[in-house]
Amino acid sequence: MNFVWFWSFWHWSKESFRDGSLLRNPLHGVGGHWDEWFRHEASENDRAAIAKTGRDEASQRRFISWLLVHWARETDLRENRLARRFVLAQIALAQPFKEWAAFEQYRTNRGLGGISAVVLGEGSPGKPEDVRQVEALALPMDTTAPAVVSEGFQADSFELETPRAAAARLLSGSGLLIFFVLWLAGGKRPYPRWLQLVLGLGWLAVGGLILYLLMGPDPADRLPLLTGALAALWIGLVMTAIATATTLGMSAWRQGRRLSARLEQSQVRLRMSGGLTLKGGSAALPFCLNMLVSIYRAEGRLARRSWLWRRLFEGIGARAGTWAATGAITPGGFLKPVVLESKLRACLKHDGIQRILTPRQPGVTSRSLARLAGTLAPSSSEAAAAPSNSSGVRFGFAAEEDCLSVHPCRHIAQAQMRLGGFNSPAQMAMNVFALAVSVTLLVALPDLRGILLPPAAPAASAPSSPSPEYLWVNLETKHPENFLVAMESHYWLNRRVEVVPRSAAGGSGRAEIRLQRSEAPENNDQEDGVVWIERRHWFLGREFAPGERVGRYSLSYLSRLGHE
């Protein structure tokens, strides 16, 4: 068996924890436990074996590999890659590992790369070193310690608990809802490019068809075809959008609940260098964002099933080194104003930071930031004196890559949109267009139904007109607006009259045709004539040519209806 001495240590740690000598469990207290064991408990054989392992870098690396793979498998840490790195980082600070070259990378940082916080030193006007990288690591809960532990700095527990509460809501509460709504409104979709193009063209086609029906030539017989195509296309697009949103939303919600439960059962260790005691809550925003990332990293396999979470966290992971954040937050995730000028100055001077998330507050305007950048620009004499030293001012307001872009947010969900690269002006424009088109179609829905699913042909009913100058055509229909009445006669003037709803009797309408003798009647038969019931088609106030004839009555029949 390799590295028996480490097993001896681990066994001692577990037993000492079990018998009440050690306060912290073997994982959380591994660094101190090792120090204690190595100083007082290790046998001569153990020490000799440890010295042999540390003899050269190759065998030190073999030990690290063994620890990461074999030992982790035996100790149920196989699933938690970060916990294994935590163990290495902890023991790397103790003897004899602090002398071992192979542990160098674990001593300096955990390689987690989080979003930087801008925490000003005492009296600092804003220096590059005020931009401090924050690393967050989620470990199984330690019942002997707070849920959030600070390393390398001190803070009130309230300053650490608030970001944790906000992170929990972002994963499965109101924060997730806000994030989802923001994504719906203007977030990138997981479609391949060709599908994105097809959907865009589809919405344009719907808009084009609406315009054609409103302003184009009368389509006559092609009206049902065109409106059918319009309805089918629109329904297809809406269903696609709803299916996508529902699938992604449900997946994000399910995984968010898992992540939230994981957060509840985890201890988050926040590390920030500098040994500062935090005053004020402006580091809460980067703390919260890094906590989210740490939970995702701890739970990676499951969380990757959700496209929204995966894109967000992979986006953060890829760009964390260039992002900084500042802002106090509420447990609900809303950002509160903070002192900003010095922090922006620090970021402007920092070589690595390209973007900063801030609260949306007065003073964060392009003009004020330009003024601030102007104060940092080296004077011409300074520039001439030290041209190689003047890095110049990297400034922009959400501008190009090599400038400092400032992203004001009201809620952390907006920060998530930025970090995940979700914001898409093209998608937002398409959404606005699709929304306008959909509202238009919803308004026109009764008209479309009248064309595509016309009401049943109505029958004429009593009473007939009491006046000889009028012919009443009463129709039993709930949709009188969808019908016209046309009279054709060789004696009377031909007329086409709309059917007016009868308010007194619901479900029926009446057309009143004024009987006027033709100037040159072809006969003298006053009962000569036929009344046709025709379909009437509308689209958003535009009336098309009369449609199909669905009823035929003789004039004599209608004039006697109800009198016999």
Binding site: S16, D19, G20, S21, L22, L23, R24, G29, G31, G32, H33, D35, E36, R39, H40, Q90, L93, A94, M141, T143, T144, A145, P146, A147, E151, Q154, G275
Partner: protein, 181 residues
Amino acid sequence: MMNTDLEVEQLLRWRLARAEAGAPRAPSGSRLLELARPWWESWPGRFAELAGQVGRVQADYGYAMAAPDRAGGGHPVPALVVTESEELTTCARILYFNIRDGRLRLRFRLDETPARARESFGATFVTGEGGRPLLSAQAALSLENEYRTDTEIPEELAREWEPLRVTDRMPFRLILRDEEL
């Protein structure tokens, strides 16, 4: 020119004689006794003042919980950190407590640390009531603001403290003095 006829032994004797001639005088017996006395006997007034201060520290929890109890964190031990520039009243979290073979091995972490980290403190264990000194030892900085102590412990104290678990209420308070004082 170096005389090569001299033997090595003679050379060493000559060097020793020179070193003894330049060395300070050995302290007197009374001075040695004074140095061996614990500091609370040398400065009883100062000790009484510090013991009174640490005795007044209220370290018990007030249970006004809004969240589930994360029990098992042990009981904080009132501690007074005395450095040249400040006196800091805080609590020590006992991380490891073991008595074996007449030795006390203790590790603790301070809730608050002095502005300038110290590599070691002189740790004086005093009773909670009356501020009676129990023992003193060196507490050396270990990892991440953890301090460790490994010291002999009187037999009587060892018998009394041996059953204690790290999560129990500790029968002592700590005065941590900068060793340069």
